[in-house]
Each structure stands twice: as structure tokens, then as C-alpha cells.
């Protein structure tokens, strides 16, 4: 079915064009000149994508044709925005990010090469779960852990800093998918209806309680509402797909809200975050500064935005940022400020379409583990986008997760390319079986 590969090839052309247009606009604005440098950047990008495309064509000929171009588009938007920031701050984040993009694609190829039969993941599920938990705990360990704005998300090993939560999310989804594949019956068999609500049998509530406990534990230990919400949402989506019982989802949500409320009352850092979310004006120059600047910058964007490289990211005449952490937390704000409501909706549209394709992969898959794996990976990806976009637009408390593939950050890029590799592996098998009529 090379028709789908041809569509993938075709879709990469507008992606490279968008990167070229973005760079050209930043050049035109900053250096007041149109050089053909933007064209060469676009061509480099296209060449890298083409190499990946050829690799996919050989190894996964039946995989979904749109996932890779959309992921490449998100990376392209991130590169343009980071380059635009570099032009004012003098950093070289865009070059670093481009290197991470290439590393990410190499890792993507390695994962596809070694996990052709991804069901081996099921065999090592407890090891994978342990690795995931160890990764989550690492930021709290002495010497290597690092606290950023009160949340424990980073790890520093000498010169290398990374966010283990990004990789941990993959481990946990793989574990939950394989665990629920095997134990889903236990949750459904013997379920009884009480007052019209289907309750799982008490003795099998165990796993539910353990995951709930883990999410609450994360909230206390890592103090990050965003990641804890992301994990729990993925878990609820998996439980729903595995059992088809909406009541489990509602019970889970009620448990999460109850737990989060108690923690809000008791853990000071979480209390601060939530209070700032509810009323950022209580400390406009301090704790509320970031979210307030984010909202003003987005308002400046209007319908079509101020244009590439035209919004204010530094306080004029100084080196201090007007938009704190514009390269990570607030990159969505920056996109809204420069491309307006339409640009921002376009970005959300890409995430929605990625999620739609991901769930399509889950629908097409033929065995339980593949279905659950694709569902979990898609949910965790989409929810991460929701958590950070919701955070900067003040829908939920702002927390420090990255906007997948757009924000600056090596661990985020690497983890998301592993995620893409797994999704394409599931998709390739499902579509091949559908084509051959298994």
C-alpha cells in the first residue's frame, strides 16, 4: 500500500514550506533583508524529513501516512519560534533544538528497528514499570535532583539535565496497557450495580487504588499538578477502553478531585499554584507575573497576530524577560501573540488531528494490547498539550510541562519521537492485517 506512503511524502512538502515561510518572516523582520538562508534551512529540514520518510517506507510501509508529517510540522513551528526568540535573547536554542530533532529521529529509527515485534514490551512490563517509577522519583534524589519553581521535575547529571517525567510517561503507559489487557476481565466480571452505578468488585479495585495512590503520591512528591493529571487521564482513558464502563471513569475522576482537594489544602506549593491560578492579581509582580504576562501577550495577538518576531519578549532596554520561560512554558503564548487567534487555533488543530489519527490507530488494531497501547500513548500526548495550553490560558493551574515537540527541551523531543515510533509500529501492523484480511 504505497499509496499511503506517497501521501506522507506529499504532506511533507507543505511542512517544509511552512518552515521556510516562518524563517523568511523572522529574517525579514530582524535583519531587514530576505536572504536565501531561509530557503536552505527549509531544504535541510525537508532533506532530514525525506530520509526519515524513506526509512518508514522501507520498515513500516503500511503505517499511518499523516502522523509523521504532523509531528514534523509541530517541530517546525517550534524551531521557527525558538529561532525568533534567539534573535532577541542571543541564545542558540534553535540550533540545539534542531540537533535534538535529529537525535530524536535517530532514536525513532532505533526503536522501530529493535521493537518490530512490540509485544515483547508486555513481557517486561514490571521492569518497565519499575524504570518508570525510578525515573519519576529521580528528581527527589539528593545530588542529582533539581527543583525548578518548587516542582521537582529535572535531573542534573553533570552537564546533562533532563526531565525524566517525559520518559516515565511512556513507561507507565506501556505498563498500564499490558496490565489492563490481562486483568480487564477481573474488573468487569463480578461487577455489581448499586443504585444504578456499576461498581467493580471490591477486591479488584486494587489496581485502581494503586494508580490513584501513585497519582496522589506524584502530586505530593513531585508537586506537579500537570504531570499527575496527565498520568491519571491516560489511566482513565485506558480503563474506559478496557472495560467499556463509564462509571469507572466517573469514580476515578471523583477520587482524583477529592485527593487533589486534600493535597491543595495541605501541600503549600500546590496551594500557591492554585491560588495564583484563581487570582493572579494578588501578586502581579511576583508569583502571578508569568500567567498575567501570558494573558496580556495573547490579548496583544488579536485575530491574526502581530507577525513573526514582532511581539515583545524582553522588557525594552533591558535583558530581563517580559515573558518568563517563553521558550518552554509560554511558547504557546508566543505563538498566539505573533500569529493570533487563527495561528493558535491552527496549532490546537494539529494536536486534535494527531489525537484523531492516534485513536484511529487504536480502532484499527486487532489485539487488546495494541489497542490499549495506542489509546494510552495518544491520550498522554494530547493531554500534555491540554495541560500546558490550559495552563497558559488560565483554564487550569499553570504547571511546567512542555508543549509536545514545540517547546524547547531535549528530553521532551526524544520521548515524543519514541512515542511516535510506537504509534507507527502499532499502526503498521494493524493496517497490514486489515489489508491482508487477517
Amino acid at each position: 500500500m504505497s499509496a499511503s506512503r506517497n501521501r506522507e511524502l506529499l504532506a511533507l512538502v507543505p511542512v517544509a514550506l511552512l518552515l521556510t515561510l516562518g524563517f523568511a518572516a523572522v529574517f525579514a523582520q530582524n535583519d531587514n533583508q530576505l536572504t536565501n538562508l531561509s530557503l536552505s534551512y527549509g531544504l535541510y529540514f525537508l532533506a532530514i524529513c525525506l530520509a526519515t520518510h524513506i526509512y518508514i517506507r522501507i520498515r513500516l510501509p503500511d503505517a499511518d501516512p499523516y502522523l509523521f508529517p504532523m509531528i514534523a510540522l509541530l517541530t517546525a513551528i517550534g524551531l521557527v519560534m525558538l529561532y525568533r526568540l534567539d534573535s532577541e535573547t542571543g541564545n542558540e536554542l534553535a540550533r540545539d533544538q534542531a540537533n535534538w530533532f535529529v537525535f530524536g529521529l535517530i532514536l525513532f529509527a532505533v526503536v522501530i528497528h529493535f521493537l518490530r515485534d512490540y509485544s515483547v514490551l508486555e513481557r517486561y512490563r514490571y521492569t518497565i514499570a519499575l524504570v518508570g517509577i525510578a525515573l519519576l522519583m529521580a528528581p527527589r534524589l539528593p545530588f542529582i535532583g533539581a527543583q525548578v519553581n518548587g516542582a521537582y521535575l529535572g535531573v542534573k547529571l553533570g552537564p546533562i539535565a533532563f526531565q525524566p517525567a517525559e520518559l516515565a510517561k511512556l513507561c507507565i503507559v506501556v505498563f498500564l496497557a499490558s496490565y489492563l489487557r490481562e486483568h480487564r476481565e477481573l474488573l468487569v466480571v463480578g461487577a455489581r450495580r448499586i443504585l444504578g452505578v456499576t461498581l467493580p468488585p471490591l477486591k479488584h479495585l486494587g489496581p485502581l487504588l494503586v494508580v490513584w495512590g501513585a497519582a496522589m503520591f506524584m502530586l505530593i512528591v513531585i508537586r506537579d499538578l500537570g504531570s499527575s493529571l496527565m498520568f491519571f487521564a491516560a489511566f482513565l482513558a485506558l480503563i474506559y477502553v478496557a472495560t467499556g464502563r463509564l462509571s469507572f471513569v466517573f469514580i476515578g475522576m471523583a477520587m482524583f478531585l477529592a485527593g487533589a482537594w486534600v493535597i491543595y489544602q495541605t501541600v503549600p506549593h500546590v496551594t500557591d499554584r492554585v491560588d495564583i491560578w484563581l487570582d493572579p492579581y494578588q501578586d502581579p509582580g511576583g508569583a502571578g507575573y508569568q500567567v498575567l504576562q501570558s494573558m496580556f501577550a495573547m490579548a496583544d495577538g488579536g485575530l491574526f497576530g502581530e507577525g513573526f518576531a514582532q511581539s515583545m519578549v524582553l522588557i525594552p532596554g533591558t535583558d530581563s524577560p517580559l515573558l518568563p520561560a517563553a521558550q518552554t512554558d509560554l511558547i504557546y503564548t508566543l505563538i498566539t501573540a505573533e500569529l493570533g487567534l487563527f495561528g493558535a487555533c491552527g496549532v490546537i488543530g494539529i494536536y486534535l488531528l494527531v489525537a484523531a489519527r492516534g485513536f484511529k490507530v487504536a480502532l484499527m488494531a486487532n489485539d487488546g494490547f495494541s489497542k490499549l497501547l495506542a489509546t494510552g500513548l495518544t491520550t498522554v500526548f494530547a493531554f500534555q498539550a491540554f495541560v500546558i495550553i490550559g495552563g497558559v490560558t488560565r483554564v487550569i493551574p499553570l504547571t511546567g510541562v512542555t508543549l509536545p515537540l514545540v517547546s524547547y527541551g531535549g528530553s521532551s523531543i526524544l520521548a515524543n519521537f519514541i512515542l511516535l515510533a510506537l504509534l507507527l509500529l502499532v499502526s503498521d501492523r494493524a493496517r497490514r492485517e486489515a489489508r491482508e484480511g487477517v
Partner: protein
């Protein structure tokens, strides 16, 4: 030369290409759905809002197997039946093989396949050689154990 109009034009060009790209992908995704709905036997994407396992289906123990009659096993993305602890539906029956048979969905239908068992599998009294479609109410017999298949198709 004034570059202001050029950067404005580039911004709108960027937005236009972005939206055309999204529309194109959304449109082909929609066509994909339609094509699958149109009488394709596999009908993989027709499950729509259903949980990803397809239609809810169960195996209900009728007799034997060392399991209380009336016990229900959920069939999701395929199950294996047999005496081995590795089987998804594990039961004790001296005529059953370790992994005796498997039951799996394809599109909105379910199929039974005997996995080269020693003593064979009966579907509604007939020997099951290759894959056979199972319907709502079908009886699956393995040795002294009997299951009734229930399909919850709306």
C-alpha cells in the same frame, strides 16, 4: 526598501498554508472513514463511538470446566481458551488442551478457531476445523465444558 509589507504577507502566507494543510488532512481522514463504512467487510473504523474492543461480547459458562455455571468472561480484542494458566479463559477439563481454541473479533463479527487441539472444538454441535463465525447464542463445547456466546450488537 521597506520590508514591513513583506513580513505581513509572509505571516498570512504561513497561516494560509497551515490551514490548507490541516483541511487537507482532516478531509482525507473523513474520506477514510467513509470508505470504511461503505460495505467493506473489515469495517475496522465503523466502530465509531464504541469502546475499542468492538461490540461487547461474553462467554457464559453453561456447564463444566470447574467454573460456576453462569460465570461471564468478557471477550475483548480476542481471548484464548484452554487448560493452561496462560489462556485468557482458563478452565479445568481433562479433554481440553493447554491452549485449545481462540475467539477473536474482526470488524463487528466474532470468529472461533480451534488451535490444533487434541480433542477438537464443537460449535453448535459441528466440529470447528478452520475459523467459523460465532453468532449470538452459539454454543461452544470443549470436552465436557460448554460456553454460550453472547453478542451485544445494537
Amino acid at each position: 526598501m521597506d520590508y514591513e509589507p513583506i513580513s505581513v504577507a509572509l505571516k498570512f502566507a504561513f497561516l494560509a498554508v497551515l490551514y490548507l494543510f490541516l483541511l487537507w488532512i482532516a478531509n482525507s481522514a473523513r474520506k477514510d472513514l467513509k470508505r470504511n463504512r461503505g460495505g467493506d467487510a473489515d469495517g475496522d473504523a465503523t466502530l465509531g463511538a464504541m469502546p475499542a474492543g468492538g461490540y461487547d461480547a461474553w462467554l457464559v459458562v453453561v456447564r463444566g470446566g470447574g467454573i460456576e455455571a453462569g460465570t461471564r468472561f468478557d471477550v475483548f480484542g480476542g481471548v484464548t481458551l484452554g487448560r493452561s494458566a496462560d489462556a485468557d479463559v482458563a478452565f479445568t477439563d481433562r479433554y481440553a488442551s493447554g491452549l485449545h481454541a481462540r475467539l477473536y473479533p474482526r470488524g463487528d463479527r466474532y470468529f472461533l478457531e480451534d488451535m490444533n487441539s487434541t480433542n477438537g472444538t464443537l460449535l453448535d454441535g459441528a466440529a470447528c476445523n478452520s475459523e467459523v463465525e460465532v453468532r449470538d447464542g452459539s454454543m461452544i463445547e470443549i470436552g465436557d465444558t460448554a460456553f454460550r456466546f453472547e453478542l451485544d450488537r445494537p
